[in-house]
């Protein structure tokens, strides 16, 4: 019975109010029309190259590799992109698409603030109005990013409902979209929400794995043994995995935020602790109670502090193509500090979850093995929070 469009196995779909249906249908039609359009792709490529700084570097982490004594570790440096994270890849694509659709206004949700900053940036660049919804709790955790968004000309609306974090920001952005849909594009920041968002965002982020593949073949003459990335909604992870899905020998490992541990309620490790459900426009795995009430999840990382996961990840998990491992706050903070001291790279606390898993598995792997870890963003925004975690009262 169910329309199979936009499904990844049983996951995905379009579970949204009727008010938004024509908007997502219009978006899908516009995307299908433009995705193979040479002029559109040329314009996007130029923006990604000249404005965002792509291709991002694939850096051989020599000191880290020597220190761990196992697999060779390469870091995919999405932190070096303009605005400091992978989010810009998706945002430039969606903003350009919205502009071609005649929309004049972008709205977005944000957790850590990286997607909000990227959206505000694209809006400034393209002369569009921008409103960003951000959980009240996160506006405190990520005060610097709030200032950046305002500096870029965006309006930041603190969301006070629920847990006042990322999930509530998504809910509020959806509500806002239903009230003003004709001139507004909802620039969703991850591979989640109703079809066609998981597909569109994945396509725009898949530039990460396309580059990794070219770069590693150039440097090593072969594919890596594993690709690691952190997973909240999962956009940098799907971007890092996508062009390797057909390469069965490449392990794909998503690192989820376990918060204070998967055996505690203070976790956001959806694949490890959630169950199948329907929320925020999609069928996927969600942290929820026995009656389907969405759980108030927790992670030190505002960007991974989300009770769901993108439908394509849920599917990759179901078919056993990707593994999803939990990483605690403590492990992520240690990895954050480790990468800073060892390689002189301060990763986003989100990305530190992927680095943490590399610290666990690299020593057990042979020296002839190759790991690629996506550093999805830079960690300047997290310094105060990590300092507080370590008991230091740091004020920006």
């Amino acid at each position: 019975m169910t329309n199979q469009k936009g499904r990844f196995g049983v996951h995905g779909g379009q579970y949204i109010p009727e008010t938004l249906m024509n908007a997502v249908i219009e978006l899908e039609e516009a995307y299908n029309r433009l995705k193979d359009d040479p002029a559109f792709n040329r314009e996007l490529s130029e923006l990604l190259c000249d404005y965002a700084g792509r291709p991002s570097r694939l850096y051989f982490a020599k000191k880290m590799t020597e220190d761990l004594g196992g697999a060779k570790i390469y870091l995919k440096r999405e932190d070096l992109n303009h605005t400091g994270a992978h989010k810009i890849n998706n945002v430039l694509g969606q903003a350009l698409l919205a502009k071609k659709m005649g929309k004049t206004r972008l709205i977005a949700e944000t957790g850590a603030g990286q997607h909000g900053v990227a959206t505000a940036t694209a809006a400034a660049l393209m002369g569009m109005e921008c409103v960003v919804y951000m959980g009240q709790e996160d506006t405190v955790r990520q005060a610097l990013n709030v200032y950046r968004m305002r500096l870029l000309g965006a309006e930041v609306i603190p969301v006070k409902t629920g847990t006042a974090t990322l999930k509530d920001a998504v809910s509020e952005a959806m509500r806002a979209w239903t009230s003003r849909v004709s001139d507004t594009h909802y620039c969703l920041g991850s591979v989640m929400g109703p079809h066609p968002f998981p597909t569109i965002v994945r396509d725009f982020q898949s530039v990460i794995s396309r580059e990794i593949k070219e770069q590693i073949l150039c440097k090593e003459g072969r594919l890596p043994d594993a690709v690691l990335a952190c997973v909240g909604g999962g956009s940098n992870a799907i971007g890092s995995f996508y062009h390797f899905i057909g390469d069965r020998d490449v392990r794909l490992i998503g690192c989820e935020a376990a918060g204070r541990g998967v055996d505690t309620p203070e976790t956001a490790a959806t694949v490890n602790t959630g169950k199948l459900g329907i929320f925020h426009g999609m069928k996927s795995y969600f942290c929820q109670d026995e009656f389907g009430q969405i759980a108030p999840v927790y992670s030190i990382s505002a960007g991974l502090d989300y009770p769901g996961v993108g439908p394509e990840h849920a599917y990759l998990h179901d078919i056993g193509r990707a593994e999803y491992v939990p990483i605690t706050d403590e492990e992520a903070v240690c990895a954050f500090e480790y990468l800073a001291k060892t390689e002189g790279i301060i990763p986003a606390i989100e990305s530190a979850h992927a680095v943490a898993y590399a610290l666990k598995i690299a020593p057990e792997m042979g020296r002839d093995k190759i790991l690629v870890v996506t550093v999805s963003g830079r960690g300047d925004k997290d310094c105060a929070a990590v300092a507080r975690y370590r008991g230091e009262d740091l004020h920006e």
């Binding site: 008010t19 239903t178 009656f291």
Partner: protein
């Protein structure tokens, strides 16, 4: 076929929305009795959801108060089973897809049938995804209510053709909540609905005053009021039912003669 059609046999229908368990079940029971005595023709009973994405602040607040009070799907089923002994008018559940899905569609919808629930309104289940629950709803004779919105355009005919129970016409863009003025032109939507289905249609979202009800009912079969009633519960708590009776009566009085 459910008994929903009965709600439209007494002049223009007044449909009252109440969040179950806000602030507690005894108040909900009293509020339901008050609405029925005031002349409500159909009750839309909300099963609270932690993240109600189609609701404005008033009903969001009611959802959270009810959940804080420890309400669960099981307790609501028990409550309806009891309440059904004294309330004969049609009752439909309004909730979100995950509440039904997580309980198990078969288990949820068969229980609806057993306790006397006539229909199901799920704002995050559009036409394209009805297959999720429709076969089970049909199996147990529970109407899956469809919604059309001001943005539905060319979709109205398709939705109306397959609609069951009554068709819920969303009056305005945005989420639920009281609006001073409803300026959407619904006449074309209603005309398309009439051409494609014989089932009744009712308008909801934003309606709070008898004047608005009269205006909306003039070209439809009834009105749905949620936030205005929930606001009384928010403001007066356990003392709200008396005011709900007065309010529903004032609304139904306007609709009766139409």
């Amino acid at each position: 076929m459910s008994r929903i059609h009965q709600a439209f046999e007494n002049g223009k229908a007044f449909i009252a929305f109440i969040t179950c368990g806000d602030p507690d079940l005894s108040t909900t029971a009293a509020a339901l009795r008050a609405a029925v005595s005031g002349g409500a023709d159909l009750i839309e009973l909300g099963i609270p959801f932690s993240d109600p994405t189609a609701e404005g602040p008033v009903i969001q607040g009611a959802n959270l108060r009810a959940l804080k009070g420890g309400i669960t799907t099981d307790r609501i089923f028990e409550f309806v089973r009891e309440t059904r002994k004294e309330i004969g008018i049609p009752i439909v559940f309004m909730t979100y897809a995950n509440v039904v899905f997580s309980y198990g569609a078969e288990r949820f919808i068969s229980t609806c049938r057993e306790i006397g629930i006539d229909g199901l309104i799920l704002p995050d289940l559009p036409f394209e995804e009805r297959g999720e629950f429709l076969p089970t709803c049909r199996k147990y004779g529970v109407d899956l209510i469809s919604l059309v919105a001001p943005t539905s355009g060319g979709r109205v005919a398709m939705i109306a053709k397959e609609a069951e129970g009554f068709l819920y016409i969303v009056s305005s863009l945005g989420v639920t909540g009281i609006r001073d003025e409803i300026d959407t032109d619904l006449s074309l939507t209603v005309q398309t609905v009439r051409q494609n289905t014989g089932i009744p249609c009712a308008v909801g979202f934003g309606i709070s005053t008898p004047e608005q009800a009269k205006k909306m009912a003039a070209f439809t079969d009834g009105v749905i009021v949620g936030s205005a009633i929930v606001r009384l519960l928010e403001k007066y708590g356990k003392d709200a039912p008396e005011r709900i009776f007065e309010y529903v009566k004032s609304m139904k009085d306007v609709l009766k003669g139409m």
